[in-house]
């Protein structure tokens, strides 16, 4: 009887441990999206930094939900985190592309001015 109770307790403990450690399959993509946004410099772009923070917060929330056995909610939170991370990434890239475009236009203008300066009136 005691042995059965011990086995039941061990099984319950094992189940509890597995429920706290198992994360939804979309955890890795969300994590990767956050890393990608971080890599392109989202922290340096205010709007992107905000969404990167949201993504990280949702990742933590997803882990918490998973620990509490709310795997569906955890999965949805991870999708939100991934979406925010992707948004942060795109905002950063857009800011960089905009800066490049401005610089390219300035180069064209400078070339035109230099050309004009070389020509006598």
């Amino acid at each position: 009887m005691m042995a059965s109770l011990r086995a039941l307790g061990f099984a319950a403990l094992l189940g509890a441990c597995s429920s706290t450690q198992t994360l939804p399959p979309n955890y890795a993509p969300a994590r990767a999206a956050i890393s990608a946004a971080d890599a392109v410099g989202a922290e340096q772009e205010p709007r992107a930094a905000l969404h990167l923070k949201l993504a990280r917060d949702q990742l933590v929330e997803a882990q918490s939900l998973a620990r509490n056995g709310k795997s569906n909610e955890a999965s949805l939170a991870l999708d939100c985190a991934r979406t925010d991370a992707e948004f942060a990434l795109m905002v950063t890239r857009e800011a960089q592309a905009r800066a490049d475009a401005v610089r390219a236009k300035q180069d064209v203008q400078r070339l035109g001015n230099a050309d004009g300066a070389e020509r006598p009136q």
Partner: protein, 278 residues
């Protein structure tokens, strides 16, 4: 009383039902975000992203229909709203890239024009430079020709200043002697007549052929020169203007190999040089 209670209960239940079945703020935001993305000018660069946002919104609407106000509805609406914003940002990103491509193309085109102009200017400069070099070469050539002409003119001037009268030795002297023959005297008479009134310096140079001893030839040439000088002085040429020099066989004008050549080398040269101004 009973009727009032029932009516109040119905109103409360209806209000509760409406509150529970209305879209969540997240869904409302998602709808607005999607509409914004759908009509945004940048969206034309991101049609696939707009479509993704639409599908995300449809999933949120579906969740709202099935389980209004649920965590799933809120999450899917949140995702839909973010996808819509993402579509706009992506469209802006593509627009930025197109602006950059256009600017780069303009820059390259302008650079090509400037390069072609620079090459054209360089070619023109080279052409002018080559023309200048050619002109310079011509000028230098002309200058060289003039210098050469000047050098050629110099002997002429020298010739004008110096006159050489060459007389055949055979026509003046007896063979191997310094004695003048009568025909020789007549020739010298003409020379004396020409020279006696002038002030030019006169050198009488005697030359022989290469036959015989060199010293003998030199002495003979000197004696013949002396004879001519003496005759010219006799005919009125001032003695201080005239000198006699025997050159012997040292200055042949033709080869001594033939009798004709030797006859040509036996000669008297009367060199008349104008006195140079002091």
């Amino acid at each position: 009383m009973r009727t009032s209670f029932v009516a109040l209960s119905l109103v409360s239940l209806t209000a509760l039902a409406c509150a529970s079945t209305g879209p969540t703020p997240e869904l409302l935001d998602a709808r607005r975000a999607y509409e914004t993305a759908r009509v945004a000018p940048e969206a034309r660069y991101a049609p696939e992203r707009v479509l993704e946002a639409k599908r995300a919104l449809e999933r949120a609407e579906y969740a709202h229909a099935n389980e209004p106000g649920s965590f799933q509805e809120k999450s899917l609406a949140y995702i839909a709203g973010r996808r819509a914003e993402l579509a706009v940002v992506y469209g802006q990103y593509e627009a930025d890239r197109r602006v950059r491509w256009t600017a780069d193309a303009q820059y390259k085109a302008r650079e090509d024009v400037l390069r072609r102009e620079a090459e054209k200017n360089a070619a023109e400069t080279r052409r002018v430079l080559e023309g200048t070099r050619a002109t310079l070469g011509t000028v230098q050539g002309n200058f060289g020709d003039e210098q050469q002409q000047g050098r050629q003119d110099a002997p002429s001037a020298e010739s004008a200043r110096r006159t050489v009268i060459t007389l055949d030795g055979s026509a003046l002297f007896v063979a191997n002697k310094s004695e003048l023959v009568p025909s020789g005297r007549q020739k010298l008479d003409q020379v004396a007549k020409t020279l006696k009134d002038g002030t030019d310096e006169i050198s009488v140079l005697g030359h022989t052929d290469a036959e015989g001893d060199g010293e003998t030839n030199r002495r003979l040439s000197q004696e013949r020169a002396d004879a001519v000088r003496a005759y010219l002085v006799e005919r009125g040429v001032a003695p201080d203007r005239i000198k006699a020099v025997g050159r012997g066989e040292t200055e042949p004008i033709v080869a001594n190999a033939s009798p004709e050549g030797r006859a040509g080398n036996r000669r008297i040269e009367i060199v008349v040089e104008k006195r140079q101004a002091p």
